[in-house]
Amino acid sequence: MGVIDFIINNILTQAAITIALIAMLGLVLQRKSAGSVLTGTFKTLLGFQVLSAGSAIIVSSLTYFGKIFQHAFHLNGVVPSIEAINGQAMNTLGLGNEIAFTFLGIFIVNILIARFSPWKYIFLTGQALLWMATMTVVGGKLAGLSSFVTVLLGSIIGGIFAVAMPAVAQPFVRKITGNDAIALGHFCTIGYMVEAGAAYVFGEHGENKHSVEDIKLPKSMEFLQDTYLSVAVIMVPLYMITAAFAGPKWAGTETTNYIMNAFMQGIQFVVGVYVLLAGVRLLLGEIVPAFRGIAMKLVPNAKPALDCPVLFPYAPNSVILGFITTTIGTVLGMFLMPVFGLAVILPGMLTNFFAGGTAGIFGNVVGGRRGAIIGGVIHGLFITLLPALLVTALTGLGFVNASATDSDTIVAALMYAWILAPILKAV
């Protein structure tokens, strides 16, 4: 029994090993050469550890930010970042193993649904699946479930989302791309539906509808497509302004000026995001192609659901406009949430760009210029409201100054917190 105990206590509880073994399984099932299996497995293992290192950087920067924000405005400022939530859940809270197994489980449930139902969507956006796995596991912990039930339920709920969200978005995607070849696999789809709905109500229709794509936007905005730059453009000034209000006592160190210290801490946040996503890239670079190979064999006529930027070349103006209007909405939301007794949610720039940009495409295709503008602001408010609703639950579990982004993953977690947990308590 000593050997089995050793395997359980030292190998299967190491999340990095679990996820590397999952990648290895995928590579072996595809009959890759021994060399490819070895390098693929190692890259996945390395990716997990890089992700952990990035997470540690983000947490230390966010801890600083939380402290100065508290002293500057006497409020709790929460940074919405699914990357930060994932990093903290995997490391600080030790949920990495459950997340790795749920990630695998969502793949399996996705293939089963696609195989036996008319919805042939195979969700191939690896990081979105990882975020969904994270949030269902967090939800399971919120509801007080055992690890086994958490993984099982997370796999089922995540698998349903992985098919349902591309299916819901498909009528719009068909309109945007002009064909039915690709689907959208991005767990911000509920937000896109909110924008599309708002654009339908407030937008232009029929002959009065003018596409955003017909106007010329300044070229200088295009640098915002560089993810890390657009995060830095907002986060660094945000840290510096907050430090200015907090003063040298809280924001500085004995040797460094407080504004300079805040500047460096803001840069550290971007560094953390960069390292974490580099880890995710290594982690998923092998698993996703393996999953795709297996899924395409098992599901005839499978339709790949892909990450949102595949839509960006179809409507580049809408992306920029969506980003700007969503950001306006999130800034309004930041001031509005405390009025309703909710936490202050700072604008989350990663999600503002990717989700906001994609939402802009939806708004434009449904309601033209006016639809995209009004819909974008409402989308921004909506994606600020969701993390605000989640904050109390997350803080209770021990997350530091962060809340999730990506509307669908938050909705999944809220289902646990608002529906499942009360039922379990009542029983």
Binding site: Q127, D226, D307, V310, Y314
Partner: protein
């Protein structure tokens, strides 16, 4: 058999759509018996890349023009980054030109 070409697929974060494009390209190249080395990265990392070909979406074109990349690198910009036909039409001629 000449040396493998290095082809980088680039998107905003270097996670989702670049990998999606890379997977489609891998299928296209396999069907034509072309064996090259494919990787994906974020546009932030592009200025330091050592590669033969960069494949990206049309909306990134103006940003690449601002960087001073190695003039030997060939660019392929796609409208639909996951369309096998477009990848075959635009990427394969570049590969053939470099391999000869």
């Amino acid at each position: 058999m000449s040396k493998k070409l290095k082809i980088y697929f680039i998107c905003g974060a270097g996670l989702g759509s670049s990998l999606a494009s890379q997977m489609v390209a891998e299928d296209v190249l396999n069907s034509l018996n072309l064996d090259e080395s494919l990787e994906h990265e974020a546009i932030s990392s592009a200025p330091g890349l050592r590669t033969d070909i960069i494949v990206s979406a049309e909306n990134f074109k103006s940003q690449f023009e601002k960087y001073e990349l190695d003039p030997a690198i060939k660019f392929v910009f796609l409208h639909n980054i996951v369309d096998p036909k477009e990848i075959e039409d635009k990427l394969v001629p570049v590969i053939n030109a470099l391999s000869n």
